[in-house]
């Protein structure tokens, strides 16, 4: 046993020293708090300025591209947002292959030494937000490109060792269907809606999000138009829907497609699960866990004159993030334990040769053992969708966000929104409740 731990006094001294060192090592998620406050105050421009002041770099660079893109989106700078998302895509592609040096460093230091490339659901959301940006710029063909890229991404992910439920992305499929429908590619829209329906069915077994009411009507409408009578009747029976609009009727109208981002995605924190003394040495195993943030509203109500629509939840980022981390947790835990054992052995051997060198190594080992808490923190906790068919014309669209007791939490008005015959107009909004800083 190394000499520096032979007395109780020395142990206490070392423990105090290590605790003071480790408390100074802030994780990524902790450094995000000032940006979060700016988002809540609806000041994405200031949040972006703060981000630009100390941008995540090196292995965390992807976070810079992702957060920057979201802030630019919130500011209505869709084209610039997409430039940042394109940078994010390039980064993910470049750093997806396993790195020998990073894996070695991760074994000896911590998991944060690996380049952050995002969880599978985050990688899919890069395309989804790029598509939304294009839709809001009126660039339908470019949005179509993004939906094609989502399809390839989902196919590639399905060939990996991920659980199917982690990579089934019903909303990505649903949005693809909406894009095809807007382009008048009815067969493709039908296929995409069908895939969304199947994915929501699978999703319902693991998540609270069920098949949105809008999708049920879309399936019936498109199946009818495509002449798939058996399929149409099956949907009518299954969804118990007696009244639905034919596509020909819809063609004479325009439609508002409203996508509401509710709150912020859960934040990863670290939990130090072992702080034990082995052979007189202190070791530390830190693991990440997700902490949910309070999402703001319960229902979102959209209205234009006498026409109104309620939104449906289409994506539960909170639960998907949680399940994804749970899937990777055995690997993360195994690596953390192996690292703790390796660090302990090395410090022990070095300490045998030189007590001070051993102490220095133990202090370094202790301080560097932090959990990888990196995640795309500007994502919403939930995504809601509303579809509001309207006659062609100019409208003021009112948005009301309501709480659990149906009381109004927040209102917003879109002025002079142009609705064109046979076309869709895309609107999005991101609202973060002031309560979101209080964890659930």
């Amino acid at each position: 046993m190394p000499q520096y731990f032979t007395t109780i006094a020395n142990r206490r001294l070392c423990f105090a020293l290590l605790c003071s060192i480790s408390s100074g090592c802030a994780t990524y998620s902790e450094s995000f708090r000032p940006l979060e406050k700016e988002i809540i105050a609806q000041r994405p421009d200031k949040a972006l300025k703060r981000l630009e002041k100390s941008p995540p770099s090196g292995n965390d660079r992807l976070l810079y591209f992702l957060d920057k893109a979201m802030f630019l989106r919130m500011m209505g700078k869709y084209s610039e947002s997409n430039q940042s998302l394109e940078e994010a895509k390039k980064y993910i592609k470049k750093f997806s292959p396993t790195s020998i040096t990073e894996e070695t460093a991760a074994f000896f230091v911590n998991d944060s030494t690996r380049a952050f490339i995002g969880a599978p659901f985050e990688q899919v959301l890069v395309h989804l937000y790029a598509a939304l940006n294009y839709l809001q710029m009126g660039e339908l063909d470019s949005a179509r490109v993004e939906s094609q890229q989502v399809d390839i991404k989902l196919k590639t992910l399905s060939q990996s060792d991920q659980k199917p439920i982690l990579i089934a992305d019903p909303f990505a499929r649903y949005l693809t269907g909406i894009i095809y429908e807007d382009l008048g590619e009815w067969s493709n829209a039908m296929i995409a809606y069908r895939k969304a329906y199947q994915a929501y069915q699978a999703h319902g077994k693991s998540y609270s999000v069920t098949i949105p009411e809008y999708l049920k009507h879309d399936l019936i409408r498109l199946a009818d138009y495509e002449g798939l009578r058996d399929e149409r009747d099956r949907y009518i029976k299954e969804f118990k829907i007696s009244q639905w609009q034919k596509l020909q009727t819809r063609k004479n109208k325009g439609e508002i497609i409203f996508i509401m981002n509710n709150g912020l995605a859960p934040i990863k924190r670290q939990r130090t699960v072992a702080h034990a003394a082995i052979n007189g040495q202190l070791v530390r195993v830190s693991l990440p866990f997700y902490q949910k943030r309070r999402n703001g509203f319960y229902t979102a109500h959209l209205s234009a004159g006498n026409n109104s629509a309620l939104t449906s939840e289409v994506k539960d980022v909170n639960s998907i993030a949680d399940k994804t981390l749970a899937h990777f947790m055995p690997g993360i835990t195994a690596r953390a334990i192996a690292r703790a054992v390796a660090k302990h052995k090395v410090a022990d051997k070095v300490g045998d040769q030189n007590a001070w060198a051993g102490l220095a190594m133990m202090v370094t080992n202790f301080a560097t053992e932090v959990a990888d808490t990196r995640s795309w923190l500007t994502l919403p906790g939930e995504l809601h969708l509303g579809r509001l068919p309207l006659k062609p014309g100019k409208y003021d669209i009112n948005l009301e966000l309501r709480g659990n007791g149906n009381h109004i939490l927040h209102t917003y008005q879109y002025k002079d929104v142009q609705v064109k015959r046979g076309a869709k107009t895309y609107l999005t909004y991101h609202w973060v409740s002031p309560n979101s800083l209080r964890s659930k």
Partner: protein, 203 residues
């Protein structure tokens, strides 16, 4: 030196060398514009140039052109309409259209009129001339050449992917449509197939 410390030292030096291997300043080498350089496997300038040249060569070699010349005693006037990007890549369709226009104009076999987007500027200039240019140099309204045919098309892709290996199949379809009677006088197609193999490992 104890064996363990020596091993750690070797590992540290090894890792340092590996991490330094990627260092170095930016290098620039000028290349001929006709040279094909494939980096990511995505649609690039070579694809745009080669496809446009091959398709226009094919278009000008077909019977519709001889028929038109014989009947009208003048070269046909063509306008480029919408060429849609239906692929999985954000292809700059404008570059492709510019390549097509260049190939057509340089052939000398067809006359070419400005597209819908370009016309706006020209008409504004003509209006401006009406006010400010001298009588002699002023260009009158209503003298534009109407196109006989419109060229429309699309760029499609089919991707077959297995982990980091992809087979990318590009298909470019162009159609020349008579503005008189909507007849399709020429349909051209060009295909490109690429095998893109990505690495599973990096330093």
């Amino acid at each position: 030196m104890p064996l363990l410390i020596r091993k750690l030292l070797i590992l540290y030096i090894g890792l340092s060398i590996l991490s330094l291997a990627g260092c170095g300043g930016t290098k620039v080498a000028r290349k001929d514009v006709d040279e094909t350089i494939d980096l990511s496997g995505a649609w690039n300038d070579s694809d745009s140039r080669l496809v446009s040249r091959a398709m226009i060569d094919d278009m000008l070699d077909q019977r519709w052109l001889r028929n038109f010349n014989r009947k009208n005693k003048k070269p046909p006037t063509v306008i480029v309409g919408r060429i849609r990007n239906l692929s999985h890549e954000h292809i700059n369709v404008n570059t492709f259209v510019a390549d097509i226009e260049r190939a057509m104009v340089n052939s000398g076999e067809v006359d070419f009129v400005a597209s819908r987007d370009e016309r706006g500027d020209i008409r504004d200039e003509r209006k401006d001339q009406d006010l400010h240019a001298s009588e002699k140099t002023r260009k009158a309204m209503g003298q534009e050449t109407g196109a006989d045919f419109m060229l429309k098309g699309s760029i499609n892709t089919i991707i077959d992917a297995q982990k980091r290996t992809q087979v990318r199949f590009y298909q470019v379809d162009l159609t020349l449509i008579s503005l008189t009677n909507n007849r399709k006088v020429w349909v051209g197609q060009k295909k490109i197939k690429k095998l893109v193999e990505g690495s599973n490992l990096r330093y």
